[in-house]
Amino acid sequence: MNTHKFDLPLVLPVAFLKFETKTQATITLEVVIPKQYSLSIQPGQYFMLWLPQIDEIPISVSNFEKNRLAFTICSKGYTSKQMMTMQKGDLLGLRGPFGKGFEIHPENVAIIVAGGMGITPLRYLIYNLLKIKTKQIILLQGAKTASELYFQEELKYLDIKTFFYTDDGSYGQKGFPTQKLLALLNNTQNHNELALYGCGPEIMLKQILEIAKTNHIQHQVQLSLADRYIRCGYGICGSCYLDDIGLSVCHDGPVFRGDILEQIKDFGNFGRKADGSKYKL
């Protein structure tokens, strides 16, 4: 069966909304995809979410189960703030799925490193890994503070190993998930079956890659740069290209393998703004 991709907006009413935290800084919106459409969404792929006459922003899929498609949004800019005020039944336009996502294999031991909002595409990844009965799933989730450990209540009850970290020590261990990654790799004999996944601040992603490189497993790492500026989604407008090898975040990514990322000089160093100019990360 052919799968659909929406290039023109599919406009649907929001079917479900839920604040993920008491501070109401993060919300999950769900829409129900009509039965006539067959969607196949790789974890790590994203949709363009359209608020007519306001803007359209790229948001990673945070779950897709039984035709219910979920996106988790934090109030980062004007458009996301508007989305936080949506009510059930309000209309939302969707285009996608766009980009390349995470590749998964059942025989792997998956180590997932999440930082802050980076957990959202990784949440959908975890459900996919569970579905294909991946050998083992280990989640190392970090955030600034306890209230930003999104989905922690949900994920800790899944059949996966979880370790939580906060910068201020308000939940789990005080510190960063990358410390645990380092320890795990040092204590693992067989590195061949490992698959490392990550999403979050690029500084953290860069650390993951460095740790992987020391263990010579950079080709087993997949990291999402979903936090970067994206305009067109088709790889043609040129706004999101990574120097020096010239790959687009929107179409060649947002998920890249570690052995590709180690060739990208911008990775962990420079971002690009909407006008195309560079800034230091």
């Binding site: 359209w50 007519p52 006459q53 285009r95 305009r231 790889g235 040129g238 010239g246 006008d275 195309g276």
Partner: protein, 314 residues
Amino acid sequence: MSSLKIAIGSILLRNPLILTAGILGTTFSSLNRCYAAGFGAVTTKSIGIEPREGYANPSVIYIPEIDSIINAVGLANPGYITYGQELKKIDSEVKYIMSIFGSTPDEFQLIIKYIQSRNLVNPPKAFELNLSCPHATKGGISVGTDPEIVYEIVKGATSVSRIPIWIKLTPNITDIKSIADAGVRGGATGIVAINTVKAMLIDITTKKPILANIRGGLSGRAIKPIGIHAIYDLYEYLGAKTPLIGTGGIWNWQDIIEYILAGATAVGMGSLLFNYNNLELSVNKLITGIKKYLETQDMSISEIRGLAHEHAQI
């Protein structure tokens, strides 16, 4: 295999395929990548005086029914001073055209003079003047729709430029020949036609325009016949002496041949790269197709230029 080498005035290219302005041209790395993929030349994103963020999204939408793309990016660019840094890093073998825009002859001159003063190791082969900007004083009309303004801008640009000046023509005009004529009188030595065709989309569920800017420009398959018509007209009017770069809706090698038969010296393309899988393969397929056609016809690329006109004269 026959050679696809061509000359656009004094500019020699390994083949007639030019990556058009506005596609993949914001960064030195994407320009390098496209040239390495096989294009004869690549064109930068249109660069202006001030940095511009462009319009909000949706700004680029593929329309599957007509294999076309509607866009209203809004000339997003980092400004000519910042972009000068980008040009320094373009690989030395890359042949590229720098697209620039402005509202007045002075603005075009300022950018040209600045870029020339940078002593770039690999300077552009030509400046392509994007004439889609609103005029500074004439009530918002696009500068490319008034022959007198076009003449002033091109004359100003050629008077300071050490390299060829090309102009990109809009199809959104009654008589494209009058603009081309003004450009040639001003000293342009390459005519690129066409730019995007005015277009818009409305979502019937929300009853709202889809593009954030409401109005945009159409590129892709739907506009190819419009581009062919423009090149046919321009070749008929200007003759073989003026190089023409046929642009608009090229989707396969047959489209390229069609443009050359209409009178194009070279072709510009970009929209067909949307959702690319393998840039090298895409460009290679086009080149192989053209070469095979020329072999079958036992003709060179310059020999088939404008051939459609001979039939018309019978």
